[in-house]
């Protein structure tokens, strides 16, 4: 579904943000890009929908080189959710969710129907929230709307940049659980950026662990914990026994 081939990003000032990263995400797979701040995970993600231009290498979506597509068309077919949410404050919840459908020329009634369906999907009551404005929502509600908006035009691919990063731990856990439930239903191909190893293990089918612009290990959460490829990975998933134990518990719970 999504294939990165020796993707490299060098910024004009010479910083090498991403170095020859290659990996493949299958259809319906939940891939987490994991790493510390500045490891290049967000840059990698933004090259997929071309918010950041690629320096060298190729990104294929469904076998098509993404630089060969119209960039706005490309983005309209890839859902996009970010940590800061970025809801449009002058539009209602319904209008926000209907943004991409509107860009794609869906009729109004259909947009509204879609927004209602998506609000239900993220466990919000359409009757109550449809016509509210972003300033009337709590942080958790706003991020649910952010996710619903990313799903607006039912894109096959979803890019999520630390979507639950700015939310309190309790709400975050609720949103994570809910989103996993949603994903089981909608089966999107997801690329999800986080620096939180616990979140990664909880959510991912496969984790791409990055460090200093390079892909260190691309594997299932289980393998990442039990078969770390080198010392960096081993340290990252927990030189500390307590962390490792907690991660194993999360991985365990996933399988049940």
């Amino acid at each position: 579904m999504i294939k990165l081939d020796k993707v490299t990003k060098v910024y004009p000032d010479g910083t090498k943000a991403v170095k020859k990263v290659s990996f493949e995400v299958n259809e319906g797979e939940f891939c987490v890009l994991l790493g510390t701040s500045g490891c290049g995970k967000t840059t990698t993600m933004k090259m997929i929908n071309r918010l950041i231009p690629i320096t060298s290498g190729k990104i294929y979506i469904d076998g098509v080189d993404n630089t060969k597509m119209n960039e706005n068309e490309l983005r309209r077919n890839i859902g996009y959710a970010i940590q800061e949410i970025g809801l449009f404050p002058h539009m209602t919840v319904g209008q926000n969710i209907g943004t991409v459908p509107e860009l794609k020329g869906w009729p109004k009634a259909e947009r509204r129907q879609r927004a209602e369906k998506l609000l239900k999907l993220v466990e919000m009551d359409p009757a109550e929230f449809m016509d509210k404005y972003p300033s009337e929502l709590s942080g958790g509600q706003a991020q649910r709307v952010g996710v619903a908006r990313a799903l607006g035009a039912d894109p096959p691919v979803l890019l999520m940049d630390e979507p639950f990063g700015a939310i309190d731990p309790i709400t975050r856990a609720v949103l994570q659980d809910e989103f996993l439930k949603v994903q089981r239903e909608i089966k999107k191909t997801i690329i999800f950026v986080t620096h939180d190893i616990f979140e990664a293990v909880k959510m991912a089918d496969r984790i791409a662990l990055m460090n200093e612009g390079q892909l260190v290990q691309y594997d299932t959460p289980d393998n990442l914990i039990h078969k770390p490829r080198n010392k960096f990975v081993a340290d990252f998933v927990g030189a500390d026994k307590a962390i490792k134990k907690a991660l194993e518990e999360i991985a365990q719970r996933r399988q049940n």
């Binding site: 996009y80 970010i82 809801l87 209602t92 943004t99 860009l103």
Partner: protein, 244 residues
């Protein structure tokens, strides 16, 4: 509501003062007589005319210019443009007006040019800030969803910046009503004719006869533009203002 009461009280006071002074029969025989009704009304009309023309020109220049310097490619011009306008504003209005006479000669056009220069800054600054202070996450989300640059400008940036731009226009207009008092010095018209003749003859009543309608004009225009601003503010933004 309370704000309106204050405004209406002030406005009433100004109008009453104008009416009473203009109708003062008992000093009409003296040397320093109040201006007759015809003059007061003509001066008010001329004043309003100057303000409206100057503001229309200032808006036509400052709104596009302020927005232009937020655009990629023109961003590096923002510092000189906004800075230049700030310098213009820091020069006393009397000096700006006075310097126009030697440059453009005495007359209406000098007064208008001076008022335009002086009225530019609030509009320019607010147009720039209105666009520039939009949360970058909002624009990023819009780009990430596949909006074109033009769509972002029309559907996102403009509606979000409009209240701020309108506030700049309102402030500029109110300032210009005051500055226009001085236009008479370079051959312009307006209520300055009455106020300044009071100043030069040391007649408090004459000063009041010019100043009161000027204040009334400023209050009225400020109120009207405030309503326009409210009307042009998207509902989602008003909700926010009410919650804050």
């Amino acid at each position: 509501m309370r704000r309106y009461i204050v405004l209406i009280t002030l406005l009433t006071l100004c109008i009453v003062a104008t009416v009473v002074i203009t109708n003062m029969e008992w000093i009409k025989e003296g040397v320093y007589r109040p201006f007759p009704w015809g003059d007061v009304l003509n001066c008010t009309r001329a004043h309003l005319e100057m303000v409206l023309i100057a503001e229309a020109i200032a808006i036509a220049i400052a709104v596009p210019l302020g927005i232009l310097v937020t655009r990629p490619g023109f961003k590096r011009l923002s510092t000189p443009v906004i800075g230049g306008a700030s310098v213009g504003q820091s020069v006393p209005s009397l000096a700006v007006i006075a310097i126009m006479a030697p440059i453009l000669g005495f007359g209406f056009q000098s007064a208008i040019v001076a008022l335009v220069i002086y009225g530019l800054l609030p509009i320019l600054r607010n147009s720039y800030a209105g666009i520039n202070n939009i949360d970058p996450a909002i624009v990023q989300a819009a780009r990430g969803m596949g909006m074109t640059r033009a769509q972002i400008a029309r559907k996102i940036e403009l509606p979000l910046a409009l209240p701020v731009i309108m506030a700049g226009i309102r402030i500029s207009t109110i300032i210009t009503v005051g500055t226009a008092e001085l236009a008479v010095l370079v051959g312009g018209a307006g209520l300055g004719r009455i106020t300044l003749s009071g100043v030069f003859s040391r007649q408090v009543l004459l000063i009041l006869q010019g100043a009161a309608p000027t204040a009334a004009l400023a209050i009225t225009l400020g109120f009207i533009l405030g309503r326009v601003e409210h009307f042009l503010t998207a509902r989602g933004l008003r909700v926010k203002a009410e919650l804050a």
